[in-house]
Amino acid sequence: MTNPSANPTRPIPGRPRSKTAQRVRERLIQAGLVGCALFSILITASIVVILAAEAIQFFRLDEVSITEFFFGTEWSPLLGAEKHFGIWPLICGTLLVTAVAMSVALPLGLITAVYLSEYAPPRLRAVLKPTLEVLAGIPTVVFGFFALTVITPGLISLHEGFEIYNAFSAGIAVGIMCLPIVTSLTEDALQAVPRALRAGAFGLGATRFEVSVKIVLPAALSGIVAAFLLAIARAVGETMIVALAAGSSPNMTLDPRESVQTMTGYMVQIFLGDASNYGPEYLSSYAVAFMLFVMTFGITVIGQKIRKRFREVYQ
């Protein structure tokens, strides 16, 4: 029955495929895919190079000094006989809006995430999850419209001190926009905490609240911090809401009732206006964009790094 000398395999019918053609195709496809992947690096590189090159051109102008740009507290590129390019009013406006936004999004998002992850009965979950997904899918221009036509009139009717364009209204809208991001990233972090930790605490007679606050939250802390950072980066870079609701007066102020201008708001103003190409105010938008990129990219990089390390801990 056994015949070791014979070829044990049955011959397969058909003609063999060309090995060379296969190898060439394989190589070409691999090269194409590598090209696709390198494209994303090209994007990052061109962002850095273009923004830096134009910013350098801006700093070379006679009207501009680097010291004033980084330390000046007056930003008046369009009006007045003497132009001033001190970026702090723009940063101040950005941070003010971001602070308001985060004071809305972080606590609400954190509590919602804890609720979703640790408490929520399936029925409420089935309502909450889609709600947050819908919120996340709404274009930011819609939030801007909402801030301008609903939140601002509401604020003014509550308190006379609010201006038509104000940081507070824009901040609330940005906060609503960030809420789904905070919630979903935080919930991910909470879910990554092993079930066994919870079981251990419950087994010692802890209440659900004690398990959530004393066990799960501390264990997920770095993941939550990462979620917060990513949300902050989003708030800093948000454009349409502030362009509609925050105004366009670069004020050095911490009063959220006043009109401010953010970095993104300034860029919108320049690109919508008839600022002459290659004039100082046009070039200044590149310098502002560079600052914005450095800030958001920095926060994102740190956030992603913390997030990655957090994930590794629980894998």
């Binding site: 590598v34 992947a37 919602t112 899918g137 274009p139 419209f145 454009t239 349409m240 990219f297």
Partner: protein, 343 residues
């Protein structure tokens, strides 16, 4: 206080400290639940409030003519026909570029993981890190990059009004004797100017990270056992990818891509930099033509001081949200209909 006598069983705790009030602990637990429910319902309330306020003011001007009409100085005559066509064109061209590149990158990252070579591995990790970081870059920054790279092309080819290269235009003499350049539907110029193509390419930069990340997730959901089976019968890497992993991941990739495109439709900031606010009363004739998109048109209306235009903006928002709803419904449909178990 050190215990002088070692105790066992229930006595061990009762000899140390005071008992915490169970009632108080349970109260905290209940109180926290109440806070949670308040926080959670607030997001539902905000969403309903937002939708209600938009619907209540937007339904005034919303009719079929609104979808077709051109923008107008009179609110009751204004429509978003050109903006809808513009959005469709820009997103279609954007998808044409973004989907192949995005899925290609995802395949490289998920299916061509290097096993040997320190530098190749580093490059791989760097690309991955870079993509998650690109997702965090504000979209207006992409707008500025698009303006420099696509619209002006670094000024290498002159200005958009006086292009260095123009294909598909020919002089045309009107009946009154004046002559101008007529542009065919395939008109192409360098630099490409503030046209549909520039908008689409810029939008591609914005959504590329989203497409890549969602396609990666879809590929990751394909179990490794299928890949091993394919390699086990002697498939090359690409045969494994094209015949096993990709087909299995297609529903997921499509769902992710549709959601990415719905993000693209709603993007206003980069479009604002590329297209500016232009008063357009016609639909784009070719890919270099001026255009506007729905969110940009909404922005323009919302920015106007007259209250009546805010209602028009709300109508526009209803149309935009309806389109997004359609996209999401399609994504959910594909997810449910084609999502087969894989093992």
């Amino acid at each position: 206080m050190s215990a002088e006598v070692t105790t066992f069983g229930p006595d061990r705790l009762s000899r140390h400290g005071r008992a915490a009030s169970i009632a108080l602990r349970m109260l905290k637990d209940r109180g926290f639940v109440v806070i949670c429910i308040l926080a959670a319902t607030s997001s539902i309330l905000v969403l309903s409030w937002l939708l209600w306020s938009i619907l209540s003011s937007g339904l005034t001007y919303l009719d079929w003519a609104f979808l077709d009409d051109v923008p107008s100085r009179k609110p009751e005559k204004a429509g978003m026909g050109p903006a809808i066509i513009g959005s469709v064109l820009v997103c279609a061209v954007c998808a044409f570029f973004a989907l192949p590149i995005g899925v290609g990158s995802a395949v490289f990252l998920e299916e061509y993981k290097p096993t040997k070579g320190k530098w190749v591995k580093r490059l791989h990790a760097f690309v991955q890190l870079n993509i998650s970081n690109l997702a965090g870059v504000p979209s207006i920054v992409y707008g500025i990059i698009g303006l420099t790279v696509f619209v002006e092309m670094f000024g290498l080819f002159g200005s958009a009004n006086d292009p260095a290269l123009a294909i598909g235009s020919h002089p045309f003499e009107a009946s009154d004797g004046s002559s101008y350049l007529e542009q065919a539907w395939y008109y192409f110029q360098l630099p490409i100017g503030r046209g549909v193509l520039a908008g689409a390419l810029t939008l591609m930069l914005v959504i590329l990270p989203v497409v890549i990340i969602s396609a990666q997730e879809a590929l990751r959901a394909v179990p490794d056992s299928l890949r091993h089976a394919a390699l086990g019968v002697g498939a090359t890497r690409w045969q494994m990818v094209s015949k096993v992993s990709l087909p299995a991941a297609v529903p997921g990739i499509m769902t992710g891509s549709i959601l990415a495109m719905s993000r693209a439709i709603g993007e206003a900031a980069p479009m604002l930099v590329i297209a500016g606010i232009v008063f357009i009363t016609y639909t784009p004739l070719h890919l270099m033509d001026d255009f506007t998109v729905m969110p940009l048109q909404i922005y323009e209306w919302a920015k106007k001081p007259q209250e009546a235009f805010h209602a028009v903006a709300a109508s526009g928002i209803i149309v935009l949200l309806a389109v997004l709803l359609g996209f999401n419904a399609l994504a959910v449909f594909i997810r449910n209909k084609f999502h087969k178990p894989l093992s």
